[in-house]
């Protein structure tokens, strides 16, 4: 499983009812169901991802996250998870509101634009960064709202959200000592667990 998913796995409690936004091929939900008796649904827009979820037995619903979560009731889930999708949404801030309407707790991961390699790309070489976490060229990227570790913390503060946990993913490793101290510089993937106050 992807490094950020490994970290999230530990944050999901036994038997939780979760909504996994942009659940991809359903790998996380499948493992959570098998090992932690987690229930819930994945939302996905990619046809292949949906078929893979169905093949795995993961409940998946075709849904464009830009349409919001209007069909899901307030407080109907224990957790809402969204991995590597925030940056592709039209209004990430509104989605954050929606997530914490549907559940008390949200887990969010996204590529940290302030990662040192990205800074070198842009700052020294003058090119938009292309990396493992940002694999697309500037002209065909689905990522329209790139942000940094600091940006997201700032948004959470503005919204009065409590950051329960934060972590970073670097490459295939769960974390690195440098990223603990300077996550905005050394974290390739930003991982947050937030709650309503």
């Amino acid at each position: 499983m992807r490094a950020d998913l490994e970290l999230i796995y530990d944050w999901v409690p036994q038997g939780a009812h979760v909504l996994d936004l942009a659940c991809g091929d359903g790998a996380l939900l499948e493992r959570l169901a098998q090992e932690k008796s987690v229930t819930g649904y994945g939302l996905e827009i990619d046809p292949d991802g949906i078929t893979q979820c169905v093949a795995r037995g993961v409940n998946v619903i075709e849904h464009n996250l830009d349409d919001g979560l209007g069909s899901f009731c307030d407080n109907s889930y224990d957790q809402v998870i969204m991995t590597q999708a925030l940056q592709a949404l039209r209004r990430p801030d509104k989605m954050l509101d929606e997530m914490l309407r549907v559940a008390e707790e949200g887990i969010i991961t996204f590529p940290n634009f302030a990662y040192w390699r990205h800074r070198i790309h842009l700052g020294l070489r003058g090119y938009m960064p292309v990396s493992k976490s940002l694999p697309h060229a500037w002209y065909d990227t689905p990522n329209i709202h790139l942000s940094t570790f600091n940006d997201f913390e700032h948004l959470c503060r503005e919204k009065g959200l409590v950051i329960v946990d934060r972590a970073v993913g670097v490459g295939d490793h769960k974390g690195h000592w440098t990223s603990k101290w300077w996550p905005n510089l050394f974290g390739e993937i930003a991982i947050f667990r937030v709650r309503r106050r």
Binding site: Y41, C53, A55, R56, G57, I61
Partner: protein
């Protein structure tokens, strides 16, 4: 029904179930109907494909749509030009793999293809039932299907599967007999018709009922058939089954000849097509059956008994659902499937939903779209895996 390519029997593909023969099951136990009447005795005509395993765990029920019937796959004879209506999805290696599953498909009560319906004889009067045939509903069909399952020794369906009106029957199964359905596949359906849907059905019914040869439904006794009404009804229906794009790409504004005639004869290709479809249908389908089936569609509304709360109505369901819609379906558009999915998630039921990109409108559910096929196959493979259904005829596969 889509205008699928006809196949000479000799050229039939190797993934066909081949030659099939329908069976008839006779029931003497009276069947109480939702309308308050009782059907004293009745027959159901059905076909099966594949082999029922020793554990009787691999049976799949196929529920048909408005004008469909028991002949879902394969051919009745060497001279058949077209296979059954859902041949694209039933056969060795297809979505509903007959190497694994034992498939049962029947003609519903009130039908005109062999099950007891308006063209059968009323045992009490000795006359043809005609318009006296009692109104049947989706729940009546499901009750009669359950008796057929009993007869076949099938306690629980590995999956109940249906498109359009067939999807409604599948939904009803999960609510009436939740313990008898291990999985449910609901395709291009809706939990209840919209006012627009009912309006189209009413136009179709009025076309039939206002045909001078309808005789209040006693046309058979007058030795006639309300062909013009049936033809119009089918033409209206057919328009709603196709998408604007499908019609546009098939016919555009093409003329039959190069000149405009400034008259009301057939000038555009699409007119010719609709008239042909209508004509064919009017000689093959029974008018009273069409009236009954469209009414059954209109009446279906499981939420009605729960103050409109569909999630409450679905509470008894116990099985995983696969819900599929098609982007250009305007008969039962994706939003109607989504309504069902939202009710299922609110009720906490296991459900997966996909909206398949297809240009073919409502009829897409009968066609082998690659993504639809992949998804449907993935779901059915999982059904087989979870129920430990092994291939019964794998060695025969080419």
């Amino acid at each position: 029904m889509p205008d699928s390519d006809t196949l000479a029997f000799a050229d039939r593909p190797t993934d066909s179930v081949g030659l099939v023969t329908p069976h008839v099951a006779k029931f003497d136990t009276p069947l109480p109907l939702a309308c308050g009447k009782v059907l004293p005795e009745y027959e159901l005509i059905y076909e099966t494909y594949g082999t029922l395993n020793a554990a009787r765990s691999n049976a799949v029920l196929i529920c048909h749509a408005l004008s469909g019937h028991h002949h879902a796959a394969g051919y009745h004879g060497a001279e058949d030009r077209k296979p059954g209506w859902w041949d694209a999805h039933i056969g060795p290696g297809k979505s509903i793999d007959t190497n694994r599953f034992f498939v049962v498909s029947l003609n519903n009560l009130g039908g005109c293809h062999g099950s007891t319906g308006p063209v059968s004889h009323n045992p009490e009067t000795g006359r043809q039932w005609g318009p006296d045939f009692p109104m049947v509903t989706v729940s009546d069909w499901v009750a009669s299907q359950a008796r057929l399952a009993d007869r076949l020794g099938i306690e629980r369906w590995a999956a109940a599967v249906g498109g359009s009106l067939g999807g409604m029957q599948v939904l009803q199964w999960t609510m009436t007999y939740p313990e008898r359905v291990a999985n449910a596949v609901v395709i291009a359906a809706t939990p209840r018709l919209s006012a627009q849907n009912i309006a189209f059905n009413e136009v179709a019914r009025q076309a039939i009922r206002s045909d001078p040869e309808f005789f209040d439904g006693w046309y058979a006794e007058h030795d006639t058939v309300p062909k013009r009404g049936l033809k119009l009804a089918r033409m209206v229906g057919h328009i709603t089954y196709l998408s604007e794009d499908a019609m546009g790409s098939k016919f555009g504004r093409d003329l039959r000849s190069n000149d405009l005639n400034f008259g009301f004869d057939v000038e555009f290709q699409v007119e010719s097509y609709l008239r042909y479809q209508g004509d064919t249908f009017s000689t093959a389908f029974d008018a009273n059956t069409y009236l009954l089936m469209t009414k059954a569609l209109d009446y279906f509304d499981p939420a009605a008994t729960q103050a409109g709360d569909l999630a409450n109505a679905l509470a008894p369901a116990q099985c995983p659902f696969l819900v599929v819609s098609f982007t250009t379906d305007w008969r039962f558009p994706p939003s109607r499937s989504r309504e069902l999915v939202d009710a299922l998630t609110r009720a906490g039921k296991p459900v997966s939903y996909a909206n398949i990109d297809s240009p073919h409108g409502h009829d897409a559910f009968l066609l082998p779209e690659p993504r639809y096929h992949a998804l449907f196959s993935a779901f059915m493979s999982r059904v087989a895996r979870e129920l430990n259904i092994v291939e019964t005829a794998g060695e025969e596969r080419v």
